[in-house]
Amino acid sequence: MAKMTILGAREDQDEVLDSLMRSGAVEIVKNNELDDERKVSTVTIDNVDLRVRLSRTIAVMQRRFPEAKRLSIQKLPVKEKDFLFTDKEENELRALVSRFEGHLEQEEAIAAKLSRLEQQIEQLLPWQDIPVDLSQHETARTKLIYGIFMDALSFESFESDLRRDYPLATSFFLEEEGLFPAKVAVVSLDEQLAGVRARLSSYDFHEIPKLPFSGTAKATILSIQREIEEEQENKQKLDQELEAMADECGRLMTYHDYLLVRSDHRLAGEEIHELDYTFFLQVWVPKTQASDMGRELSERFDIAWISEDPKEGEETPVKLENNKIFRPFEVILEMYGAPSSHEVDPMPVMAPFYMILFGMMLSDVGYGAMLMLGTAYMLFGRKVEGNTRQMSMMLFISGISSVIWGFIFGGFFGDMLTAVTMGKVNFPALWFNPMDSPVQLLLFSMVFGVIHLFFGLGLHIRNEKMQGNLIGGLADSVTWYLIIPGLGLMLSAGAIAEQPSTVELLKQVGQWLVIGGAAFGLIFAGHGIKNPFKRLIKGLGALYGITSYLSDILSYARILALVLATSVIATVVNMLGMLVGPSFIGYIVFALIGAFGHTLNLALSALSAFVHTSRLQYVELFGKFFVGGGSFWNPLSRRTKYIRIEDDTSSN
C-alpha cells in the first residue's frame, strides 16, 4: 500500500472523487478528528429516507408481480448512460413511489372493509329466512329486541320472569317453535325496556348486532354482497394500476442504487480537506497502481499528486490476495478480524487446513455430496453474490473434502448400505472406520493438530522475521518443534515399534529431542536480555508454555467427537428407518425417515463442523502467531444493491 496525496482545484473536486469511486482502487485515509463533530445533514437523512421507501416499494413489487420478481434473481445490468437521473426524472420516480404507497394504503383500507362486510354477512346468515325487517326496533309505544336463545331452559325461565314481572311484555318465536337455539323477538313497552333487558342479560341470550341497514336480513345480505362486489372491483383496479407501476421496478432499482452511490460520494467528500480554491485528500492505493492512477488523474484534471510509502509502524488497510481456491475461505478470516498490515497473510495455512479439518469432521460421502449439491445450487442456480457467494463456495470446497474423507473413513450416510442390505454390503473404508477404532482416530487427530500448530509456528517465524526478530521467532518455535515430537516419541514408542531394542532407541531419540528443545528455549527465549539470571527466568517462563500446548493439542480431540457424532446419529437414523424390515413398505418408511433424519443430521453436523473448525483456526492456530488489529481494505467504490453498472463500450 502507498499513501497518495492529491491536490486539486475546488471545481474539479466532485469529478476527481467520482473517478476515484469508479476505479474502485483507493481507500480514503480517514480523518479521525472529524468523527466527533460530524453532524448528519438533512440531505443525508432525506437520502436514507427515500432509499428505505424505495427498497420497501421494490420489495412489494417483487413479491407480488412475477415480472418484477424476475429482476431480483440477479443484479440487474444497467448501462453507464442510464445510471444518471435528471431532476425531472427524479421527481417522476419520487411521485411514482408516493403513488405506489398511496395505492397500497387504499388497498389495505379496502381489505379491512371487505373483511368487515364479510363478518356482517356471517352474522346475518342465520337470520336470512326470517321475513321481518330486523332494523325495525320500535313501534309507537313498544321496543323490539331480536336475538337467539341458546336453550329451552333459559327461554322458559325468561318467559316465566316476564309473566311475573312484566305481563305486558311478550316474546315470539321467529321460526318453528321448540327448536333450540331459537330466534326470538321480544316485545316490551318503552318504559319497561330496561327491566326486560336486565332479565335477558341473565340468560343465555345473544342479541342480534345493530346493523346500518334497513329491511329483512335477506335484503341486507344482498346489498352487502353488492357492496363487496363493488369493493372487489375497486381492488382489482388498484391491483392493475399497481402492476402497471411495477413495470418501472427496474428503474426504481437503478434509482435506489444511484442514491446509494450519491450518498457514499457525499460521505467520502466529507473526508476531503477543502481550502478556499483548492482541495486535498489522502488515499491508500496498492503500490503497483499508484503511479498509473496519478498519471491518469493528472491527464484529466489539473491536479498535483505524490505517493509515498507508509511511515514506519503505520497501519495500512489489509488487502488479501489469494488464488481462486483459497479466496472463498477469506470469509472465515473476515469473521475474526483483520490481521495487522505488518504480518503475513494467514490464508495459505488457514485455507487448506480449513478444508481438511471441515472434511474430517463431516467425513461422509453422502453428506458431503448433499452439501456440494446445495451450495452448487446457490452458486450456479441462484447465482448468489457477495459474501453469500464466498460462503457457498467455501462450503462447496469443504463438501468435496468431506466426500474424500468419507471415502477414507468409509461413511455413506453413516452405515446406510449396511443397514439397507441387512449387512450383506459394507461401504469400504480406505483407511479405517472410526466407529471400530476410535482410539486410533483420537491419536491421529492429535498428531494432525500438532501439524496444524507447527504450521502456525511457521507463520510466527515469518512474522518475527518481517519485524527483524528472526532469532526471537525461532526461539519461540524451534523449542516446540523439538519438544513436542520428542514427547510424542517417548510416549508412543511402544505402539510404533515392536522390538524392545527399537523401542528403547526411539525413547532415547525422543528424550534427546526434548532435552535439546528445552535447552534451546532456555538459551534463546530471552534473546537480547543481558542479565543472565533474568534471561534464565525468561527461558523457564517460555518452557512453562508446555501447558498451553497440551491443552491446544487435546483440543483437537474434538475431531473424533464430531466424527463419531455425525456417524452415530446417521446410524441411529438408518436403524430407525429399517425398523419395519426389508420389505416394500419397509423401504418406503426408510426413505421417509432417512430423508428427514439425514437432512437434520446434515444441518446439525455441518454447523458443528463449521463452528468447530473455525474455533480450531481462531483459538489454536491464530493463538500461535496472529497479531491482528488491522482493518480490511475497503476501497471507495460504487456500491450497489440491486444493479450492476456496465460499461457502455464493453456491451456494444
Binding site: I332, M335, V439, A561, L564, A565, V568, L604, S614, R615
Partner: protein, 158 residues
Amino acid sequence: MTSIIGPILVYLAAALAVILPGYGSAKVVGKLGQIASGIMAEDPTMFGKLLILQALPGTQGIYGLLGWFMIMNHSGMLGGSVALTPQQGLLFLLASLPIAFIGLLSAFHQGNVAEGGMALVTKHGHTSGNAIVLAVMVETYAILALLATILGVLSIAV
C-alpha cells in the same frame, strides 16, 4: 435377581447420558429461542446469525445421545445381550457420569455466553464470528467430558 442388576445399571448409565445433557440443551436452547424471537421482532434479518448462536448449546444433547449409543453398543445391549455382571454395570454407570454432568452444566454456561453473544451481535452485526467462538470455548469441556465417557466405556471389558 443379581443377573438383572448389571443390565439395569447399564440402562441407567445410558439414560443418564441422554437425560441430563438433553435437559440442559433443551432448556437453554428454548431460552435462547425466546431471546432470539424478541430480537427478531425488531430486526428480522438477524435470523441466520441468531440461529447459529441458539443452536450452539444444542450440541450437548447430541453428545448425550452419542454417549447413550456408545454405552448401549459396547455393552451389547443394542444387540439384545443382557449378560452383564453388576460390577460391569456399575463401571458403565461411572463411565457415563462425565458427559451426563458436564453436558448438563456446560449447556447452561454456554447458554449464558450465547445470550451475551446475541446482545453483541444485535449491536454489531459483523461480530457474529467472535460471538460464536466465545460460546464455543465453553463447549470444549463438554467435548472433553464426552471423550472421557467414550474412552471410559471402551475400556470396560465385556
